[in-house]
Each structure stands twice: as structure tokens, then as C-alpha cells.
């Protein structure tokens, strides 16, 4: 990184503290922060300043349900270990940092894209527990990459049409953790499921959406949904009671989820 580029980064301090950088710019700026002590000091001061802007907004009383939900949720939500995860977790970390907006050093304190960070805290308790279980499952036999790739659009369309025509079609309009509307379709008769969404946020080049079927405590890879795709038929047979999940994974997919689900839907 040249001194000249670093000079440019110097002017980003305000935008960084005010949240006006894109996630990618934010990552680059944070790398710059590691190199510059002066910039770190400024970032800390600006972070405090921005927080004052934040505390100056009109307080809003939350609903009693919010409190109740949270207290119920924390009872089954594990906390991060105090230390950084083992190096073997690198891919996970990288994927999280790329997608889930990255750790921040604002104010000198790390804000982690933790396990489940950007994740829906809308999960009901059992589903949250399921997800926690899913996250630690390591599959004996992995299915990565190629086998999980999408069918050509036309085949996919046919499969989706078949699903839509199924007598026992179930369709749930769900919301991913970032607010993106996602439709989940399935039919037990056809033992088939699909995801459709017109608005999946674009991912970095080395990342992909991966679909999962969660069954009896096992998390089974069910194909990928590449950038720009608006629909994906899930690989494998859907069993009664499966939970369908979506995570963001390194390109090619993972054998087991390495990030928190952005969507979980019970069938």
C-alpha cells in the first residue's frame, strides 16, 4: 500500500465514523487503520462523536414484546468465546468479514460480525437452537462445489413449475435477516423445495448463497444460488419436517455452514 493511497484514506475518517462507507470500503479503511496510529486515534474520537449524535435522537419506547422476546432468546443463544476463534476458522472469519460487514475498530472496540451477528434474531427459540446445532455439525461426507451447482435455468424453471403445480404446494413468504423478501416453496408429495427471490443482495465474487436442509440435527448441503439468480431448486429430497436454511459461503460452497443463516424456514 503506497503512502499516497494512505494519504487518500486520511480523508475517509468522517465517512467511516458516520457509516457512509460501503462494506468493502470499510474493510479497506480498517486495514489502513491497522497501519496508522494517528488514524486509529482519530477514528476513536470520531466514533465517540458519532455516538453522541446517536444518543441525541429522540428516545423511543420499545414494545413489551421486544423485551420478552429478547430475554427468551438469550436463554438459548450462546455467547462468543472471549478469545478469537482458532486459526482453522479462518475461512469462516473471512467470509463473515467480507459479507457480514466486517469487524469494526470504531471507538477502539471491536464490533464483531459474530456467529449469527447479522442473523435474524427473529428466529423462534427452537429454530435458533436448531441453527446453533446446525452451525456445529460437521458432516462426515461432504458435498462441496460442483455437485451443488445449479441446474440450467430451463430445468430449474421446469422444476419450479412442477412445484407450483403440486397439489400440496406450500409457499411461505419469508424475510431474510437483512430484510430481503424470500419465497420458500415446497411439496412433500414431490419431496422437493425451492427458493425464489428477486432481490437477493449481490455478494462479493468469492462468495455464494448456499442452501441447506436441516434434518435430525444434520445440516445437508442442498445446492448454491449464484449472484443474479432469482430462483434455486434445492438438491436432494426434502423429508417431512426438514428445516430449510440459507447461508453465505465461500465460492463453491461449504460442507457445513460457516456463517449464521440468513434465513431458516421450517417445512
Amino acid at each position: 500500500m503506497s503512502a499516497r493511497e494512505d494519504e487518500d484514506y486520511g480523508s475517509w475518517a468522517g465517512a467511516y465514523a458516520l457509516g457512509a462507507l460501503t462494506p468493502d470500503e470499510r474493510n479497506r479503511y480498517e486495514q489502513y487503520l491497522h497501519r496508522s496510529e494517528d488514524a486509529r486515534a482519530e477514528a476513536a474520537e470520531f466514533g465517540d462523536t458519532a455516538a453522541l449524535l446517536g444518543s441525541a435522537t429522540e428516545p423511543v419506547a420499545p414494545s413489551p414484546e421486544l423485551r420478552a422476546n429478547l430475554l427468551a432468546a438469550i436463554a438459548s443463544t450462546p455467547q462468543l468465546p472471549a478469545e478469537d476463534p482458532a486459526p482453522s476458522d479462518e475461512t469462516t472469519q473471512r467470509a463473515r468479514e467480507d459479507v457480514l460487514v466486517g469487524a469494526s475498530t470504531l471507538g477502539g472496540n471491536v464490533i464483531e460480525p459474530a456467529a449469527g451477528s447479522k442473523a435474524a434474531r427473529r428466529w423462534s427459540r427452537p429454530v435458533a437452537m436448531l441453527a446453533a446445532a446446525a452451525a456445529v455439525v460437521v458432516l462426515g461426507v461432504g458435498v462441496a462445489g460442483g455437485t451443488g451447482l445449479l441446474n440450467p435455468q430451463s430445468e430449474q424453471q421446469q422444476a419450479i413449475s412442477a412445484l407450483e403445480d403440486a397439489d400440496d404446494l406450500q409457499r411461505v413468504e419469508a424475510t431474510a435477516t437483512d430484510g430481503t423478501p424470500v419465497s420458500v416453496l415446497w411439496s412433500e408429495e414431490l419431496a422437493s423445495a425451492a427458493i425464489t427471490s428477486d432481490d437477493m443482495p449481490e455478494l462479493a465474487d468469492d462468495l455464494v448463497y448456499q442452501l441447506w436442509m436441516i434434518r435430525d440435527g444434520e445440516t445437508i448441503p442442498a445446492g448454491l444460488m449464484e449472484d443474479g439468480e432469482t430462483a434455486a431448486v434445492m438438491d436432494g429430497e426434502l423429508h417431512q419436517g426438514d428445516v430449510i436454511g440459507i447461508t453465505v459461503e465461500p465460492a463453491g460452497g461449504s460442507e457445513a455452514p460457516t456463517t449464521a443463516p440468513i434465513l431458516l424456514q421450517a417445512t
Binding site: S11, W12, A13, G14, A15, A17, L18, G19, A20, T22, A44, E45, F46, G47, D48, T49, A50, A51, L52, L53, G54, S55, A56, T57, E58, P59, V60, A61, P62, L66, R67, L70, L71, A73, I74, A75, T77, Q79, L80, P81, A82, V101, S104, G107, G108, N109, I111, E112, A114, A115, G116, S117, K118, A119, R121, R122, T177, D178, D199, P201
Partner: protein
């Protein structure tokens, strides 16, 4: 009453535990401490989120995400590196901005920004009667910025706009936006007496 886990409280507060102490207790899995932390900070956290998102139920969803994240990551908070409220509000702001941007592709994004522009007081410092001391302090400091700096800072922080969106909206180069944001923050920092 909560038993604090720190050996040496950094500052002795009134009767109740400091937010820093509470967060430290939360880090050890203390759910009662979490409940107290929530009770003392939720209106502020939700207030900030709602300032960006406008919609109440969406704001509550994001607030729930934020507090769950606080529960999960309290273990990573270090009191020596900054105030608890800064840590929490930074997280809240970031999640709110994420949510605002997530709907970027959908049409309601423009609609919402449009609505916000016409909302009275959005582009100026609210001089509302019933405001907190903090609010008055910040309002005063904001008033010391140039009009252009204030506009850029507010669009970024309260509007959740990225610097390129601000540049497009104001028809000025991105470099100019960055400079305005930085100059604005320098002036704010000095006016608010934020010490290094």
C-alpha cells in the same frame, strides 16, 4: 442488585452499576445484567434505529438483532477501549444502515428517502422543546457547522446514505463529500469536547 465482576470499577457512578459494569457482567452470561442493560439503553438504541428506518416494527426488528448481538459479543467488549454506550450505539447505527441499504434495490428505498426529505426537521437541527441535555448539546454543536457540512453529516448519519449517494443527491464530487464529512466531524468533535 448486581455484583460487578470488575476488580476496580473505573468510575464510581451513582447507585446503579455503570453500563460498562453491566456489559462486563453480561459477558459472563449474567441474564439479569442483560435485562438491566436493556432497560436502561433500549429507548436510546431504538430511538437511533428509528431515526434511520422510520418504520416502527422494522426498527424493533433491528433493535432485537442489535441486542442479541450485544448478548453474543459482550465477551469482546473491553471497557478500557471505550464507553459501553459508544459500542452499543455504533453497533445499532451500523445495523440500521445495513437495513436501510438492504432495501436499496427495492423501490420503497426512493420513496422512503423522498418521504424523509419532506419530513420537517430532517435537514435541520431539531429545536424541539422537550429534549434531552445531550440533544441540546449536540444540536448546539451541529449549529456550529457550516450549512454544507451539517447537511452532509446528517444525510450520512441520520439518513444512512453512503458517500456516493450523498454525492449524487447533492450533485457534488465524492471527494468533496468526504472532505465535508471529515471537516464536519472535526468541528463536531471539538465542539462536543471529545477528548483524545
Amino acid at each position: 442488585m448486581l455484583v460487578t465482576m470488575t476488580r476496580e470499577p473505573e468510575r464510581v457512578e451513582q447507585a446503579p452499576a455503570s453500563l460498562e459494569d453491566l456489559l462486563t457482567a453480561v459477558a459472563s452470561g449474567d441474564r439479569a445484567a442483560f435485562a438491566e442493560l436493556y432497560d436502561r439503553t433500549a429507548p436510546r438504541v431504538l430511538g437511533l434505529i428509528k431515526r434511520l428506518l422510520i418504520d416502527h416494527s422494522q426498527s424493533e426488528e433491528v433493535a432485537q438483532e442489535v441486542f442479541l448481538e450485544i448478548w453474543q459479543t459482550a465477551t469482546r467488549y473491553q471497557p478500557t477501549k471505550g464507553a459501553a454506550v459508544t459500542w452499543m450505539l455504533t453497533m445499532a447505527h451500523r445495523r440500521a444502515v445495513d437495513r436501510v441499504r438492504a432495501s436499496q434495490s427495492s423501490r420503497d428505498r426512493d420513496v422512503r428517502i423522498g418521504i424523509r426529505d419532506y419530513e420537517p426537521g430532517f435537514d435541520q437541527v431539531s429545536e424541539a422543546v422537550e429534549v434531552s441535555v445531550e440533544h441540546q448539546r449536540v444540536a448546539k454543536a451541529l449549529a456550529r457547522l457550516t450549512e454544507l457540512q451539517r447537511q452532509a453529516v446528517q444525510l450520512a448519519y441520520y439518513g444512512g446514505l453512503s458517500h456516493s449517494e450523498i454525492a449524487a443527491k447533492l450533485s457534488i464530487p465524492i471527494g468533496t463529500v468526504k472532505t465535508r464529512l471529515r471537516d464536519g466531524m472535526i468541528r463536531l468533535r471539538d465542539e462536543l469536547g471529545v477528548v483524545p
